[in-house]
């Protein structure tokens, strides 16, 4: 879901620590090193990388193309392949019959069944085009805040992993406790009190 869409979902992250100076170059290097690369002969079902906000299918991080108004704006692309279990079942049956005819045996061993399944899955995934999913990212380096335009759990996990690998910094998800602890500017005393809280019973 793109940041310019009419309806969006946003999760916020706090970026812990500072990255190596000059910041622009370091960010660019991280984006380029982990940019999305098309694969044609990969049977894996998932491919992840950074891509340009304004050109999802041809990442280009030249110059300051990923900078808008002092913000880093880019996208996370996750391509996923999926094959219906019913299709897999059908092709396992076809392959099993073929192998039994070739060998003249009346049944396949457990290892042969496993090999058939792996062969069928690899073959199907190789033939199946991946579905691209694009999630926009806005990183306010000065405020150490990052907005991720998706509430999808696996996409958020992929973001956290790729961000850490690219920039050597951790993302701390903003949730009720972390927001109170990090963003609200509470006093030390208030933060201490916060850590001792337990649930309220509103009807007691």
């Amino acid at each position: 879901m793109g940041l310019l869409s009419s309806s969006v979902s946003i999760n916020r992250y706090y970026v812990e620590g500072k990255i190596e100076e000059p910041v622009l170059d370091t960010v660019k290097k991280g984006l380029v090193k982990h940019s999305f690369r098309e694969t044609v002969d990969d049977p894996s079902n998932k491919n992840t990388g950074w891509t340009s906000f304004n050109n999802h299918f041809n990442p280009n991080f030249n110059g300051s193309s990923f900078v808008i108004d002092a913000l880093f704006v880019f996208s996370l692309r996750i391509d996923k392949k999926s094959v219906s279990p019913k299709i897999i079942k059908k092709f396992i049956y076809v392959e099993t019959v073929k192998r039994l005819e070739e060998s003249g045996a009346s049944y396949l061993t457990a290892n042969e069944k496993k090999a058939v399944k792996e062969h069928v899955i690899d073959t199907l995934f190789l033939r199946m085009p991946a579905v691209p999913n694009i999630y926009d990212v806005v990183w306010n380096y000065e405020k150490a805040m990052l907005w991720f335009f998706s509430s999808n759990k696996s996409a958020n996990e992929a973001l956290e992993i790729l961000f850490s690998a690219s920039f050597n910094q951790s993302l701390i998800k903003i949730f009720p406790y972390s927001e109170a602890d990090i963003l609200l500017g509470l006093t030390e005393k208030e933060r201490d009190l916060l850590s001792f809280l337990s649930p309220t019973n509103f009807t007691g």
Partner: protein, 173 residues
């Protein structure tokens, strides 16, 4: 900074539900003119409230949808001990409207619609539109953070007992 995310996410998971429950109470029990210093700002409950009650290892979830969502069915769930898990809100500032759903578990926003910024006619417009959209999202986060700060300041203060008593009266009224 050492924050154990996985531990605090669950250990203090109740904060988000309490915040949204308090926010509902705060919105409906405060004169709309007193919610903000700026008299051209308004906040109201939107078209969806999700409540959740945990009892005996079971989770009961109630979703109320529709205009002016909530009230009777929602209050009934609160009476049984539920808290608000998701709340749809409408925010108006001057002549601009935002609608969004906030999750008590993650503080994430969904179904967020900002004031209209027109149509992108050429690639040259994109940067300006991005800047405008980010400004509109930022405006909403300023609101959310200020409301959450108000809640947390109350929550860690001695005044919280009075707030809970007032909320109890509202729930049972």
């Amino acid at each position: 900074m050492m924050l154990d995310v996985s531990l605090t996410y669950y250990r203090y998971g109740f904060l988000g539900g309490e915040f949204l429950t308090w926010l509902w109470f705060y919105i409906v029990n405060t004169d709309p003119n007193d919610l903000f210093d700026n008299k051209n700002e308004f906040l109201e409950i939107g078209n969806k409230i999700v409540l959740e009650r945990k009892a005996n290892n079971a989770v009961e979830k109630v979703t109320i949808k529709g205009k002016d969502a909530g009230l009777e069915e929602g209050i009934l769930s609160l009476k049984k001990g539920a808290v608000v898990k998701e709340l749809n809100l409408l925010y108006r500032k001057e002549d601009k409207d935002w609608s969004f759903t906030i999750s008590g578990e993650s503080m994430g926003l969904s179904n967020l619609k900002t004031p209209d910024i027109g149509f992108i006619e050429s690639k040259k417009d994109i940067e300006a539109f991005v800047v405008e959209k980010i400004f509109l999202y930022e405006s909403l986060y300023i609101l959310i953070d200020s409301l959450y700060k108000k809640f947390i300041k109350l929550r860690v203060s001695a005044s919280w007992i009075t707030v809970v008593s007032d909320m109890n009266k509202w729930i049972n009224s």
